[in-house]
């Protein structure tokens, strides 16, 4: 819902061997309500970049502006979903997890229960509001995490390989669900993945990063109509194009990932 500007961001790690540059001079803009995927080989700093945008890490140089304002730390204008299922609070039910952000905002109990139930319905978990996370499957836990990140109504949703630890079947379902949720909420989404098919399925735009140090290698617009058909010729063509940018050798049927 709001534009984001990433302006010459550089990030360095302190290691025993000295400073290592994780991300170097990364710049790109994201439009309001745009779904942007960041793909790249492991170690290219895509998760690091997301953590900088989330405000968990401070950049060594450059800045990030959300709706024109430079960010200085984490804030409630951004919702974050991590890869690890353990991100949910095990001592809270699905409803309790989803209403956490609203609780921090000082929303009254009845109101936050109502909103949390609504969010859980959005991710199709209305039957599991009173379940504790350890009673839910991995896919369900990630759906709770998405509902939790959306509940306090941030304008930006940051997702760090949220479905990477799920099996292929569940992942497909989750991608469809996320595409639906995004269409309904129109959040600005930044989504980190190493899965090319996932990026083509979800994104309006794909930022391809290269490693050591992480830089932007390509910025590709995906103009396929939604909902997208992963088996269509155009879809596979997009995948091939993306894989070429990632330096893969693409054979006749570029469906491997």
């Amino acid at each position: 819902m709001v534009p984001i500007a990433i302006d010459n961001v550089t990030l360095e790690y302190d290691t025993p061997a000295g400073k290592v540059t994780g991300v170097k001079d990364v710049s790109f803009d994201i439009g309001a309500s745009e779904f942007v995927c960041i793909v790249g080989p492991s170690g290219c700093g895509k998760s690091t970049l997301l953590n900088v945008i989330a405000g968990f890490l401070a950049p060594a140089a450059g800045e990030i502006r959300i709706a024109g304002k430079t960010i200085t730390g984490h804030g409630m204008d951004r919702g974050v979903v991590f890869q690890d299922f353990a991100q949910l609070f095990p001592w809270r039910t699905a409803l309790g997890n989803v209403s956490f952000g609203l609780e921090m905002k000082g929303v009254a109990k009845d109101e936050r229960d109502r909103i949390a139930r609504e969010q859980l319905r959005l991710v199709k978990l209305e039957k599991f509001v009173d379940s504790f996370p350890h009673h839910l499957s991995g896919g369900m836990q990630q759906r709770v995490a998405i509902a939790r990140a959306l509940a306090y109504n941030p304008s930006v949703l940051l997702m760090d390989e949220p479905f990477a630890a799920l099996d292929a079947m569940t992942r497909d379902d989750m991608q469809t669900l996320l595409a639906d949720v995004w269409r309904e909420t129109r959040k600005t989404v930044i989504y980190v993945t190493h899965n090319v098919a996932e990026a083509v399925y979800l994104a309006d735009r794909v930022i391809v990063m290269s490693a050591h140090p992480g830089t932007v290698q390509a910025d590709i617009r995906i103009d396929l109509p939604r909902p997208r058909d992963p088996l269509s010729v155009e879809f596979l063509e997009c995948q091939k194009q993306l894989m070429r940018h990632l330096g893969h050798k693409v054979s006749g049927n570029g469906a491997a990932h």
Binding site: M76, V80, F82, W91, F100, H135, Y152, T170
Partner: protein
């Protein structure tokens, strides 16, 4: 390939939701079974004791039959003396235990959150924890006299360090992802503390409470033997020795064991069941 996976997933969710409703049933029957098992073990132990007592290896005055112990036990219950002794002991142990929690819990948390606090208290804990509280009784008697104050302080000493140590470990083991997620959702320091760190450390905190109470219970009986006058279960045993009242000693031991069992199983066991086990943060052994 697609169809079997689909069915698997469906069955999986179905059993998952079904197991939730049947869980309470099986929990109940499991609880009854473990109660039976405990009863059988206790009966076997009692039979062994009875066999040795009847064999004549010790004089009957030194090792009375269980029927005699039971008679004494009932008599002491009926005239109220045993209850009064137990109340004194419970007062001392609970007073000392709560004091230990009041001190140990916050210090344990501060140790895990702030380096200087940790480097100050950790050597202290390491040095003082191994000293048996019983070894301090004579010293405390000289400082604080005979009676409640000394026994309560001995209990406090015994219980504080396990409480502190477990809390410290628990807070350190809180998943950083929870803190990150809570921070992203706008939690301030206060909310992080009460709504993330305390529940996140709860498996360790409950273990700390358990260990602290166990050590407190052992300490109070020991301290009462030397440092209590007239009342308390430990004092009963020590006093009965003077008159060769082994039946009284054994009756007091039964009460000591019984109260310890009630706290361990009913108080801390049910606390664990209602919190960390319900949340899936600690698992029950299988079989």
């Amino acid at each position: 390939m697609t169809i079997p996976t689909m069915t698997d997933a469906t069955i999986n969710t179905a059993t998952k939701s079904a197991s939730k409703s049947s869980a309470s049933m099986s929990d109940q029957s499991k609880g009854r079974r473990s109660l039976w098992r405990a009863a059988i073990v206790l009966i076997i132990a009692a039979c062994c004791y009875e066999a040795v007592a009847r064999s004549g290896a010790f004089a009957p005055a030194l090792m009375p039959k269980l029927s005699v112990v039971a008679q004494t036990f009932i008599a002491m219950l009926l005239d109220g003396t045993m209850i009064e002794h137990a109340v004194y002991t419970l007062y001392r142990v609970l007073f000392g235990f709560f004091l230990a929690v009041l001190v140990g819990l916050p210090i344990g948390i501060l140790m895990a959150r702030f380096r200087p606090v940790e480097s100050f208290f950790l050597p202290l804990v390491s040095a003082l924890m191994p000293i048996p509280s019983f070894a301090l009784v004579p010293l405390f008697m000289l400082w604080f006299g005979i009676g409640n104050l000394t026994t309560i302080l001995i209990v406090f000493y015994a219980a504080t360090f396990p409480m502190m140590f477990n809390t410290w470990s628990g807070v350190r083991s809180v998943n950083p992802l929870w803190l990150r997620a809570a921070g992203a959702m706008g939690a301030d320091e206060n909310a992080l503390f009460w709504k993330v760190i305390i529940p996140g450390a709860s498996p360790f905190i409950i273990t700390g409470l358990r260990q602290a109470f166990l050590r407190a219970w052992i300490a109070v009986v020991g301290a009462e033997m030397i440092a209590a006058s007239d009342w308390g279960l430990g004092w009963v045993i020590f006093d009965a020795k003077e008159f060769l009242n082994t039946d009284v000693m054994l009756a007091a031991l039964v009460v000591i064991g019984g109260i310890g069992f009630v706290f361990e199983k009913l108080v801390f066991g049910s606390l664990e069941k209602r919190t960390v086990q319900r949340w899936g943060m600690s698992r029950v052994a299988k079989g």
